[in-house]
């Protein structure tokens, strides 16, 4: 019941927020978000880290005629991302507390998004996964389109169509695999997928990649991200960078890596090069940005390039690195977007030439920003270092030259982050800042409350990364031990071997399962 409550509680709260009187909306939203976070407590406590299997499984019959069930279950990878998502939700609700255009609908979108993303991480049925994956587009589309900046409408449409176009290809691939395997439970697709001819495997791999590459986003399909980020309101940017980008990498971990190991071996070199190009290219582009939010948006592309490299390195170190970078990026980029939001609330500008000298005016703010910056440039001792080190070390074993290229990108990363810090904090205050000196008050307690949890995680995960890594050690190890071909074809395979299968056998092979919980 725990996982379904994690999905239903935020969504129900979102509906209540819509119906509630206007004055109560944000209090109710915060309550719902904190309640969801509280539910993560028993989830974390009851989790057994030593197994790669699914835990907290639930199953309800949903569309029996098609063999589609409402099945949930998580492993360590999903748990880490679930925790991240539910940690960020109350923070963004709190961060948008004073947002001028804040309405019940805004809060409802935030909470709905949180519930749907929980669904993506918890679903083990492909159709259910797809439903959550796609449905999460709607609240973000509204968030960007309704509460975004000047070019919000263009950015919202571009965001929606890019991601939708990518994911329908995944839908067809999933329908194909589901009908071949006789079940839509994707944890059982492995043997079926690996028994397909290699060409078909590559095609399916690419179809899944299309959905996830757009979401990550991988170079060269990343162009929607800077637009979406710059136009989105602070809360939207935080969730987008903190959680939604992880959906892509999570999808790769759930589908591409375990289902098509041969295709991975075949295509990994190219994908690692694409990752390396993303790291360097995005870092260089970030360097020349004058809008600080766009700068951070490109830094996301750069970091996600490292994630891609780690994922496709096919080494344990690389996978651990990729996952750590995902979690770290979720914390650090969320923090950076929040910091930019705090500044924007005061000055209503994000242009570098209008900024500067905030260190003297807002010392507390400067402290928070510098900590986040140090984590973003991966200074040893911060969480960023462990992730990037492991990611690069793992990638080096698989593709030394691409990794060498990517490492230069990390240097550029330090450059643009320092440029970013200087332009906000240390360069001589611009005339604009001098004119608006009165507005530059230091962070208030609410803003500290929003940032502190994130700031605490930076040294914590920097010194004790095992807190996070222990969660996903078993599933990562299981990912690397791939059965080349199952010795005996399971029942689903015989039905689906090449010929169209009897529809009734589909329903018969997935009987209605009553709710279970360990």
């Amino acid at each position: 019941m725990l996982l379904s409550s994690l999905i239903l509680l935020p969504i129900t709260t979102a509906l209540l927020v819509l119906l509630a009187p206007r004055g109560l909306a944000k209090q109710l939203a915060l309550l719902g978000a904190l309640g969801t976070l509280a539910l993560c407590g028993p989830l974390y406590m009851g989790f057994h880290p030593n197994t790669a299997g699914l835990q907290f499984t639930e199953s309800y019959s949903w569309l029996p005629s098609l063999g589609v069930n409402f099945t949930l279950g998580i492993d360590g990878i999903a748990l880490a991302l679930l925790l991240l998502n539910n940690l960020l939700t109350p923070l963004v609700v709190l961060a948008s507390w004073k947002e001028a255009r804040n309405t019940p609908a805004f809060m409802a979108c935030l909470l709905g998004l949180a519930g749907l993303v929980n669904g993506v991480f918890a679903a083990t049925d492909f159709i259910l996964f797809y439903v959550f994956f796609e449905a999460s587009l709607i609240p973000l589309y509204l968030l960007i389109g309704l509460w975004g900046g000047k070019e919000r409408v263009y950015a919202a449409l571009k965001f929606f169509l890019y991601t939708f176009a990518g994911s329908v290809l995944m839908l067809v691939a999933g329908l194909y695999l589901g009908t071949q395997a006789g079940t839509f439970d994707f944890t059982q697709w492995g043997p079926t997928a690996q028994a397909l001819p290699l060409g078909m495997q590559v095609v399916l791999f690419l179809a899944f990649l299309a959905a996830f590459a757009v979401k990550i986003p991988m170079w060269p399909v990343h162009t929607w991200l800077p637009d979406a980020h710059v136009q989105a309101p602070t809360a939207g940017s935080v969730i987008l960078a903190g959680v939604l980008l992880k959906l892509g990498a999570y999808g790769l971990l759930r589908f591409n890596l375990p289902l098509f190991p041969e295709a991975v071996t075949l295509l990994a070199p190219y994908l690692m090069w694409a990752g390396a190009i993303a790291v360097v290219y995005a870092a260089l582009v970030a360097w020349v940005q004058t809008d600080v939010k766009k700068l951070i948006a490109y830094s996301s592309v750069s970091h996600m390039g490292l994630v891609t490299m780690g994922l496709f390195s096919d080494t344990e170190t690389g996978l651990h690195g990729a996952l750590l970078i995902m979690v770290n990026h979720g914390i650090v980029s969320a923090g950076l977007f929040l910091v930019i939001g705090i500044m924007y609330e005061r000055l209503h500008t994000r242009e570098m030439k209008n900024l500067g000298g905030l260190a003297a005016l807002m010392p507390g703010y400067a402290f928070a920003l510098v900590v986040l910056m140090l984590a973003a440039v991966a200074l040893p001792g911060t969480n960023g270092f462990v992730g990037e080190f492991l990611g690069l070390a793992g990638s080096f074993a698989a593709a030394p030259w691409a990794t060498a290229l990517a490492t230069t990108g990390v240097v550029f990363g330090a450059v643009y982050m320092l440029v970013f810090t200087r332009s906000l904090l240390f360069q001589a205050p611009s005339r604009f800042v001098m004119e608006h000196k009165a507005a530059c008050t230091d962070m208030n307690p609410r803003e500290w409350l929003v940032l502190l949890p994130l700031l605490l995680f930076i040294p914590l995960l920097g010194i004790k990364p095992h807190l996070a890594m222990d969660l996903w050690r078993a599933p990562v190890a299981a990912l690397l031990v791939q059965p080349v071909a199952a010795p005996e074809a399971p029942a689903g395979l015989e039905i689906g071997a090449g010929t169209p299968i009897n529809h009734q056998s589909v329903s018969a092979s997935t009987p209605t399962v009553s709710p279970t919980q360990p």
Binding site: S65, L66, E134, V153, L161, L175
Partner: protein, 486 residues
């Protein structure tokens, strides 16, 4: 030919509808009160629906000697219930869609007659019955299209639909006569045993199916659709988008499983695949450039019927052995589910257009600010039309496309999903206009007196949400129907 003693109980719902139409006509003529006729019509529709649900029609209807004209089956009964449901949804729209002086009792009569034809169509077991039922469905629609006779566009729509519809009927009759020439049979059962892919048979089949494609607005038989949709009064457009599409698709299922059975269906399937592909491409792309909402929705119909025909393409090639019964049920139920959802969505959309008096896309500007509830309902309907989960439109595509993939039409499905992305663009664009665009200048106030229509929009939106979250009951029903098509 003496029919009277042969009428079995199976015909009761259809007879109730037909006699009900006559009774409504009489009552309407004597009272000249439209509300009496509408009330009566709604009761007749409800009664016919209940009758079908409580005692499903079985058996068949024949001339004194000879083959069955109509053969009732669980499939035809399920289709009939759903068709009656769609008519019931259209009824309030018909009431509110006309000014009091044009709101005549005959509107209800024509709706009842069209419903009678629609209900009989899926039960047709004979080319003659097929033709008569189709014309019974079509004629009231021709009249309804031209209902606003002082409006040039409405008259044009009626005339255009009538002339082109007659042409299609003529082609269809010619095709039927060729089928008769090829086989010497008119009833579906005999045709099924004699169907051979001879040139004569294939030409006859092609001509007959082009008539069917005309009613479905499949490309290249779609040319009338935008003009008729635009010109016809909005409630009639809703009826056009819902009722004939579902009824004719149900008939097409029966044709593909029955008389066109065998090698001929393979050819039919390939032909339909081309039509479906063309419809998806043309409908989805041309909808984007429309400025008039009704024309936009017309192209959307073309695209959506294309999507719905995808599983029927898969159905066409399936052999009738025990191994494929499940797939036959899955494909037919997929198409039916899709069109039921599409019908509900269209009725909701057109009701919203009628309610707000929207004609052009730009009329929707700033609607979210002015009427947030209407905008929410409309948004749900549009997202469903775009096929975004968890709404019913997505479930329809899922249920339609999955069996098609299973039957080996993966590439057609691939085209389908790519086109559904293109098609989602116009839905999103409408949402954008409605929610994100600021209103420029002042506009005349929306007509406020038709408050009940807002409830209809909301009800349709609610149905779309419920069918999306809990598709199992309806799909199970359709799947069961799909196992007993004859």
């Amino acid at each position: 030919m003496n029919l009277a003693p042969m009428i079995p109980a199976a015909l009761d719902p259809a007879i109730l509808l037909a006699l009900g139409a006559l009774a409504t006509l009489m009552v309407g003529s004597f009272t000249r009160q439209a509300w009496v006729a509408f009330l009566l019509a709604s009761q007749i529709l409800l009664a016919a629906g209940m009758m079908l649900l409580l005692t499903p029609a079985t058996g068949g209807v024949a001339f004194e000697v000879g083959p069955l004209l109509l053969a009732f089956s669980p499939f035809s009964n399920t289709a009939a219930v759903l068709l009656i449901g769609l008519s019931l949804l259209v009824l309030p729209l018909l009431w509110h869609g006309f000014t009091p002086e044009r709101r005549r009792p005959e509107l209800a009569v024509l709706l009842l007659l069209a419903t009678t034809g629609a209900v009989l169509l899926p039960a047709a077991n004979h080319l003659l019955a097929f033709y008569v039922a189709l014309e019974l469905l079509s004629f009231p629609l021709y009249i309804l299209c031209a209902w606003n006779r002082d409006d040039a566009k409405s008259s044009e729509a009626g005339l255009k639909y009538f002339v082109l519809g007659s042409l299609a009927s003529g082609l269809m009759l010619f095709g039927m006569s060729l089928l008769y020439a090829a086989t010497g049979a008119l009833d579906f059962s005999t045709l099924a045993t004699l169907a051979q892919p001879t040139p004569l048979f294939l030409v006859g089949m092609a001509l007959m199916l082009s008539g069917v494609a005309f009613k479905l607005s499949l490309v290249p038989f779609h040319f009338y659709t935008p003009d008729v949709y635009e010109g016809a009064p909005t409630p009639v457009t809703a009826l056009l988008a819902a009722l004939p599409k579902l009824a004719v698709a149900a008939l097409l299922v029966r044709l593909l499983v029955g008389p066109l059975h065998g090698p001929a269906t393979l050819v039919a399937g390939q032909g339909l695949a081309v039509l479906a592909a063309a419809s998806m491409v043309v409908g989805a792309t041309l909808a984007i450039v429309q400025g008039n909402l009704k024309r936009l929705l017309a192209f959307s119909t073309i695209a959506n019927v294309g999507f719905a025909v995808v599983p029927l393409v898969a159905l066409a090639g399936l052999p009738h052995d025990a191994n494929h019964l499940g797939l036959i049920a899955a494909t037919s139920s997929g198409a039916m589910f899709y069109l039921v959802v599409y019908g509900v969505t269209s009725i909701g959309l057109f009701a919203a257009l009628q309610y707000g008096g929207f004609g052009q896309v730009n009329d929707l500007k700033g609607l979210a600010k002015r009427q947030p509830m209407l905008a929410t309902a409309l948004g749900v309907l549009l997202f469903s039309l775009a096929g975004i989960p968890p709404l019913a439109g997505f479930m329809g595509k899922l249920l339609a496309f999955t069996p098609a993939v299973q039957a080996g039409w993966g590439l057609l499905v691939l085209l389908g999903v790519v086109m559904s992305v293109v098609a989602s663009a116009y839905s999103l664009w409408l949402v954008k206009v409605m929610v994100f665009d600021e209103e420029r200048g002042t506009r005349n106030q929306e007509r406020g007196q038709q408050n009940y229509l807002g409830w209809l929009v909301g009800f349709c939106a609610l149905l779309v949400v419920v069918l999306g979250l809990f598709p199992a009951p309806l799909h199970t029903l359709l799947l069961a129907a799909g196992t007993a098509i004859y």
